[in-house]
């Protein structure tokens, strides 16, 4: 297959969007759900059928899977299927979906500015939060790395979290953030949905730390954006629905001892 031929894969925009993700947690899949929900687009979500979801995810990420005629194998969920196209890696799925649903520009510098903002939010409020409870090994229990987790969480809440909130506030203070509470331009983009979800998860994991930072008044724009997303009609309906899974053993977990001095 040559680079030019890669266009032959059918990505019929009328094809249904199929999200493939672990059941029973919001997790990394949740940012994708929020994009579909905000846009009011129907999508299938196999996570809502746990008996089916686990074998389907396991099949995709199996050590024997070498993909199909159109797609390389995915390493890990979330996975998106759209027509013949199958892609993974959360920021990559968002990059694909958001411009198709009017939540990002289709071309120009906004594509890259939004992608960099989203990569940074995911680094700071998702990947680094995950590492607070698994600083040594993803494959080992939290209980077996609890002492290291306490050290990492202390560094996270005292240094990293304020650093990332301060950065998001600077993006909001930039000229590229126009009218309204949004990170980029004058209207809501997928970056705003990602910031909402990641801050919501981080509030769940570290409620005292986030509250203290909110009270400081230094990041008012960030918390105003959070509230503005929460009040979007489609998002608000979704958050109150049964489709929104409660937090549990995913990226964002609550271990109260990780917030103690």
């Amino acid at each position: 297959m040559s680079l030019q031929d890669s266009k032959r894969v059918k990505t019929d925009d009328d094809a249904p969007y199929e999200l493939i993700y672990w059941p029973q947690i919001p997790g990394r899949g949740e940012c994708i759900r929020l994009v579909f929900e905000e846009a009011g687009v129907s999508y299938s979500d196999v996570a809502k059928n746990p008996d089916k979801a686990i074998p389907i995810v396991m099949g995709h990420i199996s050590a024997d899977n070498i993909g199909d005629a159109y797609n390389p194998p995915p390493l890990a969920p979330p996975i998106l299927k759209h027509g013949d196209l199958l892609i993974n890696q959360l920021p990559n799925i968002l990059l694909y979906v958001a411009p198709r649903l009017g939540l990002a520009p289709k071309e120009g510098s906004g594509v890259y500015h939004l992608n960099e903002i989203v990569l940074t939010i995911l680094d700071g409020l998702s990947n680094e939060v995950h590492d607070t409870h698994h600083p040594i090994a993803v494959s080992q229990y939290y209980e077996d790395q609890k002492e290291e987790a306490k050290k990492r969480a202390k560094n996270y809440t005292s240094e990293r979290l304020p650093k990332f909130l301060a950065y998001m506030q600077r993006v909001l203070d930039a000229k590229t953030s126009g009218e309204g509470p949004w990170l980029y331009g004058d209207s809501l983009t997928y970056a705003d949905l990602v910031l909402f979800q990641c801050l919501d998860g981080t509030k769940y994991a570290f409620p005292k730390s986030v509250e203290k930072l909110e009270q400081s008044g230094k990041y008012d724009g960030v918390f105003k954006l959070y509230q503005a997303v929460k009040e979007r009609p489609n998002i608000s309906k979704y958050l109150e629905s049964e489709r929104r899974a409660p937090y549990s053993e995913g990226v964002w977990r609550r271990y109260p001892e990780l917030e103690e001095d």
Copy 2:
């Protein structure tokens, strides 16, 4: 600024490419250098002038920087300036540059397949390698987190590194990897350059572990690709030039004790 207006930023393809990165390490900037070198495109690289590079990087990432009329502020280097456009986040810079230099398709599914492969290589052979020597806090010395680093490195070399090499081998075994040693399609793409650089750095950090995995014969395609990139005329010339910085205190560091049992 509306989403539509974002196109007004000038990204004149004749403008010079300006890489802004820390001096004296290959680091995350190196993947971008390899793209320019392979393409034979001239670029400026402020890292080659250490006295100038540090204040320039510090200015961009300063807590007071709120960007300019066209761009939000970057959080961290590498940063790319191209005409009026200024972007950060390594996978984002590669996504912007590679199709302009013929090292990725400009549209279609290949854009997203290459982006997901690159994100996964960077996760597994760059970010996770960094975390082996800094598992607790980026802001603290290695010496102050050495015990935790030993645990994390042991898990990395025994579980994570084989997992990522096995995944790259599966991408090479997929139908989407055509003729030749390349990850995607029939010709070299930026994903191949990223895999070369990240494996080269990981070999520097964990020479014994990588050698053992190479000897296993399970990842022959990955090591063949590594060699094929190394022998590309422009890459080979670059690697022998003074422009290629030696490894030292960057993402990929050699601490022999992290490979001991």
